[in-house]
Structure formats: structure tokens, C-alpha cells
Symmetry: C2
Subunit: 216 residues, 2 copies
């Protein structure tokens, strides 16, 4: 697992940004949270689009329709892909020290387009298998037309950084006796009971891959 | 409440993007989720940064340190601010029909810097009061130096759009009898029990504004 070196873009500019380039930390955040926000430049303006991401080794992948504006522009273009988990609200004794506990990864680079039906199918299969093990084989098989309609983009993790903010408020000593409650309100993504479609084929039970799905 | 008109940037390009320009829908999503991803252009490259946002009437606000790279660049610059709530994973009979239930808002525009200590304090107070009613008055009062160190930016909601994807999978009729489970795995942000700081001043109980904090 190659460790990315800080680039001018990933290097944290402020001490308390708590940035790390540790790939184990970066990978854990990417693997925990499927939603990314992809930033690209369209006609000179920044555009930030939510999308699903998945990791395969040293690269991060996302996909969409060949018809979508975001997908068309992103190939070969510079993008910034950011993944964030909100872990809590931090209530301090002063307004300035209020903050948020979070885990976040930013990946910069030039997006590569995955070419070829076979390669595309292999990536989609891996995406599905990571999220819902065993599901791909049970699905109605993907068609050549569907593969054609799908664009898959990827970025290497060579220019990636993670930031983590955790723990209680860090008021300076002189503020700590102030008579106001301080602490953390924890927040997490929770997964509910799977809701079967109303028109399921008869005899289908909720599979393990749906029952056990979790966001960490 | 003025309704934004679709601009070339906010106009949805694809039918199933389910875009709306209804301000009631836009406002409800912004008010539900405090985390935004702000996209801006730094040295010609897109940069996407997570930040807290709050709404005051027809504008969206965010803030940060005067020292931060993002804050310095964003003033007067074109930005895209995107807020997304992940509501569920949608499992269909084919790979292509798998999708995500979500609510998302994109706001485009030129960021305005809030000038003046008095105006800054008024906005910070409103942010705090929206999230934690009654808390601002109880805090150690903000200082002139702290206000100086805080930059607040804002965007009008005149160029904003919302997208909502909800409900069960939408497999075409010919796929529905396929013998694979289909349905929705609901996901939501849940708020846990407030965790008091270990060095609280004596006699402080967890206030209502911490106990009742929710993300909708």
C-alpha cells in the first residue's frame, strides 16, 4: 500500500486541521462511507455533485450514466473527490471553540475513464460485491447496452489526505470553569430494517447482504 | 420567499434527476443537514471542502478561520455549495437499476464576505440559536479578536436547485419477476446521548438544546 506524499494541494495549511497521509486511515474512511462529493470545473465554474464511490486497492472509483453532464466532463479532467462522515457536534464554552467531529478524505487528480465492456463489468461486480456480497450473481445479468450506458471513472490515491476531528471540546484552561454545559453530541449513520419491494417474486426472503448492510 | 428560476447551471440535464426549484423543498433540505460540501477553484483546480452551513431567509451562510485557504479564496469567487442527505440504498433486480435514495441541494453563485464585527456576531448568534436555542447567551462572550479571526461567507439562494430520490426500486415490468430480493435499506443520521466534558463546572445538567438536537 503506497503512502501518498503531501502535494501542494493535500498539504494541510493549518495546525489543527489534523491531516494525515496514512493510507490505512484514508482507506478506512473511504470504505466506511459510500457517498462522495465530486468537484469538477464546468465552463469555468466549480460544480459539486454527490455520487457513490468505491475503492479497489490503490484507486477510488465512481460511476454514472454516459448521458450525465458530470460524467462527460470528468474524464481526463482534474477533479477533487471528498468523502465526509459527520461524527458529532462539539459544544464548547465559547462560540469560537464549537466545532464538529468528523472523518474526511480528499483525493485530487485527473480522472481516468474505464474503457471496454469487460473491464466495466468487472468493476461494477466488485462494487456490488463490496457493498452486498453474493448479490451480483443473483441479479438479472447486465446487458451490453447497459454497460455502454455506464461510465466508470477512477482516481489513484496517490494525492489523498485524511482529516479526523474527534474527542471533547478543547476550551483553553481559563474558559473551562465557565458555567455552561459542554460536551459532544454523537451523530452516526444508522441503517434500518430492509423494506421489501411490494412486487417481489414469491418466496424471496430478505438476504443477509441486505440485513447486514452497515455504514461504519 | 422568491422561487429561483433554473439557470444553465441548475437546470437538470436528465429526466430522472428529479430536480426542483421549489424554495420550500430547498429550504427543508438545507435546514435538515448542517454539513455542506463547498466547491471552489484554487490555482485552476477544483477543491471540495466539508463545512457547516446555516440558512437565514434567502441566503445560505458558512464560516471558518480567516487563516484557512478555503475561506481566503472563496470571497468574491464562484462557488458551488452542495448539501446531501443519504436516505437509503435501493436494491433492484438488475445492476443498472440499483440506486440511492437521497435529498440534495446545489447552490451556485459568487460568495459574499460578511464585513464588520457587529454583523459577524449577529450571524454567529443566529447560527447558534438555530442549532442550539438559548445557548448563545450562556456562552463565554465572544471577543473582538475572535470575531476578527472568523470569516463568514454567504450565497443567495437565487441559483439553487434540489434533487430528491425516494421510494422503491423502479425495475421495468419484465425484470420484476426475477427471483432476487429487491427493496430499500433505509439510512438516516441519528443523534446519540450527549456526552458531557469531563471537566464541566459543578452542577451543570445537560441542557434541552443538547438533549433535543436532531438531524431530520
Amino acid at each position: 500500500m503506497p503512502q501518498p506524499a503531501p502535494s501542494p494541494r493535500t498539504r494541510a495549511r493549518r495546525l489543527h486541521d489534523k491531516a494525515t497521509y496514512d493510507r490505512a486511515v484514508i482507506d478506512a474512511i473511504l470504505d466506511a462511507m459510500p457517498v462522495a462529493h465530486v468537484g469538477h470545473i464546468v465552463d469555468g465554474f466549480p460544480v459539486v455533485t454527490p455520487t457513490l464511490q468505491w475503492r479497489e486497492g490503490d484507486r477510488i472509483y465512481w460511476h454514472g450514466s454516459s448521458a450525465s453532464r458530470m460524467q462527460k466532463r470528468a474524464s481526463g479532467a482534474q477533479v477533487c473527490l471528498t468523502v465526509t462522515l459527520l461524527d458529532g457536534m462539539v459544544l464548547a464554552r465559547s462560540g469560537l471553540e464549537h466545532s464538529v467531529n468528523y472523518r474526511s478524505v480528499m483525493v485530487f487528480g485527473e480522472a481516468d475513464l474505464v474503457e471496454g465492456a469487460e473491464a466495466k463489468e468487472a468493476h461494477l461486480r466488485r462494487m456490488m460485491e463490496q457493498m452486498f456480497p453474493g448479490r451480483w450473481e443473483a441479479l438479472r445479468p447486465i446487458t451490453a447496452q447497459e454497460l455502454k450506458a455506464t461510465r466508470i471513472l477512477s482516481l489513484p490515491l496517490s494525492e489523498a489526505s485524511a482529516k479526523i476531528s474527534a474527542g471533547p471540546p478543547s476550551d483553553p484552561p481559563e474558559d473551562r470553569p465557565w458555567p455552561v454545559w459542554a460536551g459532544v453530541i454523537p451523530i452516526r449513520l444508522t441503517v434500518g430494517e430492509p423494506e421489501p419491494a411490494s412486487d417481489l417474486a414469491p418466496g424471496l426472503l430478505t438476504p443477509e447482504h441486505a440485513r447486514d448492510y452497515r455504514i461504519r
